[in-house]
């Protein structure tokens, strides 16, 4: 049993992995709440709407040896765990609205969410799904929402900052594991947001009230001051949830036009060359004999080639550094219905670090991204030239992730590389097709190689050499 370090905060239970399958133990102290969730019809209602993850109760004596165990659950498995700082604007917004919808539905069944962490939501393709089965508590008449502050820190503050300040402010979530402090958000947001009733009350006034009571150590439950702890009717609580939902829904992100946003319009591929690249990619992936579970597409842009590759694997994680490209891809896939493609933000030159308690609460990208094949199309010149990464280090990075690599080499004669070199000295004597093949050849064997018609670029299918697997976790 391998207990996951992300689930230590809530004493209701914990998550662990057994033979690679994620399980969740329900502790005895949470038995009444768990039974209420299951018996009240709430579980059925939420899973029918595909808002809450489904699970089955399992009995495996070998793994339920814990003295606190009440039940052992095997939830539906999530192919790839992602974090809020890897989501585009609409992904975080959809996760926020899902959390509120679940809270409202719980209220109808006399239950309530006892936490509202953004980490409780995961994505199955483009579908947000609430994964924490142990987040439900009985609704107590008159009680305010215990998770109100957490909801505002995890969702409202980052979304408001993304919409009204700058999209990149969402990266604060990497250092703020319990969401962005409301005082910080309130200080950063422009004055006009104080004129919006939702943002004013849930964020600015909220921050002020927090500061006003920050130094008061008195327990509002036992405070001698009468009526310190407010009583809120169920209807009023639902009205607060609705007001939060309207506030979140009114937040819109209007991306500025960037060179990346219209990348496909101005790439040096003619439509014919793009088609050729797609069919070439299809051939290369199709020639891999072993079955492909997961593929990571790095530098996926809006995911045009992810779609080609996704037909050959069970799940594809389509990642790009550009929030506009990820936003465009997510919106397109969300509208199209179920998909096996998960669009995410990822900066390959500085991938998501391990964060939280002992640096093990949320895993680094390099720990999560082990897969069957990596797709790196039109990426290597950004890593080698823009980021000055030696080709050997780039090869080692890919060799750590997957046994197969489909990579496109973009030579110095390509207009995109010319553009990168136009304003700087060319200190890359090895950056040639021959140099690339020689250096990558130390860790990979070239299985297939073909030029993309109508361009100077070359597409390779490479297989990791047996002695090059340093990841320790691949078969």
């Amino acid at each position: 049993m391998n207990r996951l370090s992300a689930s230590f905060r809530d004493p209701s239970g914990f998550v662990f992995s057994h033979n690679g399958i994620i399980h969740r133990q329900v502790n005895s102290r949470y038995a009444p709440e768990y039974e209420q969730l299951m018996a009240s019809g709430l579980y059925e209602a939420l899973t029918q709407k595909q808002w809450l993850i489904r699970h089955e109760e399992v009995q495996e004596p070998a793994i339920s040896a814990d003295a606190n165990a009440y039940k052992l659950l095997r939830p539906e498995q999530i192919p790839y765990i992602s974090y809020p700082y890897e989501w585009c604007f609409s992904q975080l917004k959809d996760a926020a609205l899902l959390t509120l919808k679940i809270a409202a539905k719980a209220l109808q069944h006399d239950m309530m969410l006892k936490d509202a962490s953004a980490y409780n939501v995961q994505f199955l393709g483009s579908q947000p799904l609430f994964i924490d089965t142990l987040s439900f508590a009985p609704y107590v008449e008159g009680e305010p929402w215990i998770a109100y502050r957490q909801f505002c820190q995890h969702f409202l503050a980052p979304l408001a900052l993304m919409a009204h300040v700058d999209i990149s402010v969402a990266k604060l979530l990497v250092t703020q594991i319990d969401g962005i402090p409301l005082a910080t958000a309130s200080r950063l947001l422009p004055l006009k947001t104080r004129l919006k009733s939702g943002l004013y009350s849930h964020l600015h006034l909220h921050a002020k009230t927090q500061q006003r009571f920050a130094d008061s150590a008195e327990d509002i439950n036992t405070s001698p001051v009468e009526n310190r702890k407010p009583r809120i009717s169920k209807k009023a609580l639902r009205a607060i949830l609705e007001s939060l939902a309207v506030t979140i829904n009114n937040l819109k992100w209007h991306p500025p036009k960037t060179e990346w946003g219209e990348y496909y319009a101005q790439t040096n591929y003619s439509p014919g060359a793009a088609d050729d690249k797609a069919s070439l990619l299809r051939q290369l992936i199709g020639s891999i004999a072993s079955p492909l579970e997961t593929i990571h597409d790095l530098g996926a842009n809006t995911g045009v080639y992810s779609e080609v590759a996704a037909a050959h694997c069970r799940y594809l994680v389509s990642q790009d550094i550009d929030p506009i490209a990820v936003e465009a891809q997510y919106q397109k896939r969300r509208a199209a219905g179920p998909t096996n493609i998960l669009p995410l933000l990822q900066d390959v030159t500085a991938p998501s670090p391990a964060i939280g308690w002992r640096n093990t609460e949320r895993d680094a990208f390099t720990k999560r991204a082990h897969c069957d094949a990596v797709l790196a199309l039109a990426l290597v010149h950004h890593l080698a030239i823009t980021n000055n990464t030696p080709l050997g280090d780039i090869a080692a990075f890919f060799a750590d992730l997957a046994p197969y690599l489909i990579i496109e080499f973009v030579p110095k004669s390509d207009s995109q590389v010319k553009r990168l070199l136009a304003t700087r000295e060319d200190i890359f004597p090895d950056y040639t097709e021959a140099g690339f093949e020689r250096i990558f050849g130390e860790l990979f064997t070239v299985e297939r190689k073909q030029g993309v018609a109508g361009s100077d670029r070359t597409l390779y299918l490479m297989k990791r050499r047996v002695d090059a697997d340093n990841s320790g976790s691949m078969p």
């Binding site: 209420q36 539905k105 305010p144 009230t209 407010p230 009023a236």
Partner: protein, 78 residues
């Protein structure tokens, strides 16, 4: 039958316990008090909305679905 009994006992336990026992988060004094402050406003706003949609529906206008998607819609009942 034993399962049903277990559920009944579990539900009774759940009802008897106070809300505080389930809280592992610190709700924050300010955040609790603020909810008391805005509850009245939120409820008034919600009620006005309900009546507004009732009036517009007389003229054949369909009220928009609630963002909370909990079928409460606009009759105001939980």
């Amino acid at each position: 039958m034993p399962r049903r009994l277990a559920i009944i006992i579990a539900l009774s336990c759940a009802t008897l316990m106070s809300g505080k026992a389930f809280a592992y988060l610190d709700p924050g004094t300010g955040s609790m008090i603020l909810q008391g402050v805005i509850a009245g406003v939120a409820l008034a706003w919600f009620t006005i909305k309900v009546y507004w949609y009732k009036i517009t529906s007389l003229f054949g206008k369909k009220p928009p679905e609630s963002l909370l998607d909990d079928d409460v819609n606009h009759d105001g009942e939980l």
